[in-house]
Symmetry: C2
Amino acid sequence: VDIKNAGLKLTAPRIKILQILGESAVEHLSAEEIYTRLKLDKADFSLATIYRVLAQFEAVGLVMRHNFGEGGSVFELNNGEHHDHLVCIECGQVEEFVDEMIEKKQQHIAQEKGFKMTSHSLYIFGICPKCQAKS
Amino acid sequence: VDIKNAGLKLTAPRIKILQILGESAVEHLSAEEIYTRLKLDKADFSLATIYRVLAQFEAVGLVMRHNFGEGGSVFELNNGEHHDHLVCIECGQVEEFVDEMIEKKQQHIAQEKGFKMTSHSLYIFGICPKCQAKS
DNA sequence: GTCCGTGCAAAGGATTTGCATAATC
DNA sequence: GATTATGCAAATCCTTTGCACGGAC
């Protein structure tokens, strides 16, 4: 895996966390959720370790951290492709999308103001089809 | 002021906080920063009150809360006009902007996925002209 | 006078850290 | 064997809350 390329030792917590994130590619998990899933998987590591591993993975670019709304970060594997997020405010479901026009427009806006753009974060919040059906 | 319209009593902390936010229209202040500025202004209220007032103001739409990066929320007056933010990752300076094309495109994207869009949050991060000059 | 607002200190959630032990390379 | 990881518990940061008192209406 890429763990070694990143200069990190190959340990059980790191392998398992990467695996969990891989299996949950659609979702975006919090540290706590990862912790819980690992336990179900008979892999019981401390929360502190989860946080440490996630921070290291983020630092070397293996995972991305997001801060939707309040109350904690969520993480997803970084597959190298940039994308933005559409988040359901009722059930938390997340859809990913990419829009070239928006990407370019952002570059222009930064340029106009004299900024050198380094990154951006775009979240669209709404109610997903499933939750609309419920109400 | 609008404090009374919101069903809130007119008290010193509320008036002062609104004033501070008004004077700092360009910036986006954290609760802690507001607390400090109030002290300099010889208006010494507890942090708990600042948080309470800000939460109330947010609830009635007088202020908006933002969560750039890590470590706490920042607040700004809500003048009713929606806008997005361009944030300098070195000095924290914030510029506001509005782009119609991006606004519309977001609506389309939500629609395509079957979401009913309720809001969005777009931050462009970069280095401002001043900080570019420094390095 | 009633109800709402405030201060204080304690509680809370998410995340980090110090230190001794245990694992990888 | 040296270095890096982990677990545990305590610590930290930001924010909220319970309770008794004081101020607005």
